[in-house]
């Protein structure tokens, strides 16, 4: 029985695989194929870009969102052609990666806002906070929703006498990096409590120690934890706040205006900065009057010196397309377009990518 049975199953499986492989498109000509790995947050936008770009040019680009660290590991080991990152490498980290295959160009693709979202009983919209107050809430020094510093900012709202539950991302994430970078710029007390630079993809949350803070995995986890815990506050990527109809705090920016997070108030944030040529900059707490303050770029990391002509050409063409035509796709998915100044800097960076010492763009 076995002698008939085992081969039958094996044959069944082999046949299944062959049929399936046959179903798959059988392209004889070797189309250019690129792979990238890294940040998960911009993945929906990238996926849409790659699908569109394939229809336009026939170039296949695969992107696996294992996280920024995994992306940087993969590019440093020569497994992928580019990496996605939403947290900047420190100069020492960058040097370590560059030691492997040479200089890396960091090109911004889009910008994201991190709305501060809340679930406060009796308050469905219009809650205002300043950066200082926000930092104190996450420091655990402001513990009640009717704290005088909060009511002073919201004289029209009837805030409850309830303890604040703070929700943070428990997994390591670029979202946390941007959020804490903002708090570190606003509040010296925050920096001294957290230690180091006061920001990062994972930090030790002060509110955890006194039991008023909980962590949730992923943006989706924060959104559901917020819904299920009355009188809580949290932070998520802009798309999650909008798609889940979460109320967002109007946050006071550097010029004193209270700004609602949106695609438009994210794009202008870059205008409040003198952008550096390498575009390695955190754009939180912008000096622009209409800018939302908790905003950050997300980048693609590419080797400046490409070793394969066809692939180098494909990368450069794609990057050029992404920072121009691709930008139109961003708002529909609640990502912010790059400002014109940022696009100008990005163009220079794309042009700096070389093959055998020659700029690939336009060659």
């Amino acid at each position: 029985m076995l002698k008939r049975f085992l081969p039958a199953v094996t044959a069944l499986m082999l046949a299944m695989m062959l049929v399936l492989a046959g179903c798959a498109k059988n392209s004889s000509e070797q189309a250019t194929r690129l792979t990238g790995s890294g940040a998960t947050f911009p993945q929906p936008l990238y996926t849409q870009w790659f699908a569109k770009y394939y229809n336009l040019t026939g170039v296949r680009i695969d992107y696996g969102g294992g996280g920024s660290g995994a992306g940087i590991a993969a590019i440093a080991q020569g497994i992928v052609n580019f990496a996605g990152s939403d947290a900047l490498l420190t100069p020492t980290q960058l040097a370590a990666v560059e030691a492997a295959y040479g200089k890396i160009v960091t090109i911004p693709m889009t910008a994201d806002a991190i709305p501060v979202v809340y679930n406060v009983q009796g308050v469905s919209s219009g809650l205002k906070l300043s950066g200082e107050v926000l930092a104190n809430i996450y420091l655990g020094t402001i513990t009640k929703w009717n704290d005088p510093t909060i009511t002073a900012l919201n004289p029209d709202l009837n805030l409850p006498d309830a303890s604040i539950t703070t929700i943070h991302r428990s997994d390591s994430s670029g979202t946390t990096n941007i959020f804490t970078n903002y708090l570190a710029k606003i509040s010296p007390a925050w920096v001294s409590t957290i230690g180091g630079a006061g920001f990062g993809t994972t930090i030790n949350w002060p509110t955890v120690a006194n039991g008023s803070g909980i962590g949730a995995a992923g943006n989706a986890g924060v959104a559901s934890a917020l819904r299920q815990n009355p009188n809580s506050i949290g932070y998520v990527g802009l798309a999650y706040a909008i798609e889940n109809n979460l109320p967002c705090i109007d946050l006071q920016n550097a010029t004193g205006n209270f700004i609602t997070p949106s695609v438009a108030s994210t794009t202008v944030a870059a205008n409040g900065f003198e952008l550096p040529d390498d575009m390695r900059i955190m754009i939180t707490n912008s000096a622009e009057a209409t800018a939302y303050p908790i905003v950050g770029f997300t980048w693609l990391l590419v080797y400046e010196n490409q070793t394969n002509q066809a692939k180098g050409q494909a990368i450069v063409d794609f990057l050029w397309w992404a920072i121009h035509d691709g930008q139109a796709d961003a708002p529909g998915l609640h990502f912010a377009q790059l400002s014109s100044a940022a696009v100008a800097k990005a163009e220079t960076l794309v042009k700096s990518i070389k093959y055998h010492g020659q700029s690939i763009y336009g060659s």
Binding site: G69, I72, S170, D171, S173, N204, N229
Partner: protein, 315 residues
Amino acid sequence: MALNRRNRKASRLGDAVFSRLSLVASLAIIFILVNILVILIMQAWPTLSEFGASFLWTSDWNTMTDEYGALPAIYGTVVSSLLAILIAVPVSFGAAVFLTEIAPLWLRSTASFIIEMLAAIPSIIIGMWGVFVLVPIVRDPIQKWLGNAFGWMPIFQGNQLGFGFLAAGIMLALMIIPIITSMSRDVLRAVPQSQREAMLALGATRWETISKAVLPFGRSGLVSAVILGLGRALGETMVVAMVIGNVYSIRFSLFSPGSTIPSKIAGEFGETLPGTLQMSSLLGLALILFAITLIVNIIARLLVWRMSAVKMGRL
């Protein structure tokens, strides 16, 4: 005659080839395991040499100061898995007894289909069910009731957030109940019918038959079933990460949030740069989980061994 000898020679060769092949396959398992271990030790080495044994009992996880300790993750892993076992074992054994001794035949095969389908559902989806359905139930009726009735016990005190050890324990229990049930059902089914008949002939009730003749006969198999379930609970990643609340500290209340080793690894691995002390510490955590699984298995072996020794002694 000559033909016969050739046949015998061929068959001896067949035996040799067959047993060698099976030996190689078995060695492959050990080889893979040792290789995983070697790679883990290599990658965790910086942490092991930096913190030494103190990695086991310190509770910091600070990327600013580069100090890492494993205790909260060890504690969370042990507590959530024990809780899951406490819930799952009585329920699964009851279900297994029901399925072998009492239930109609069609129900038995339906049960095995349910188990297989459950195994195929990605844990992220099961986790979503946990977040949307189970966590609210845990917060409102369960934690409220436990807090009111047993609030004097430290393990049932504190904020009733829903997310935490209790939710993780229940989710894990739900995931391992099918595993333990199906394995113990197979074990019980293998108990010879004569065992049951002998007891029944002596005038024993159904339960007496089960408890005195069936369960003792299947002891070692039942222990392996529990161990298999425990192994799954120790290593489960996404489901736990989604419901445990992910706070890296040690709290004694089952209502409070915590972390487990796999949830910590899954949460930070992707964003951590290669070659850092943080990455090395994450793999150090994986190494500790390895050790925990090892200890659990050794205890189980000893348990089975003692049980059979006792049984032999009595006979």
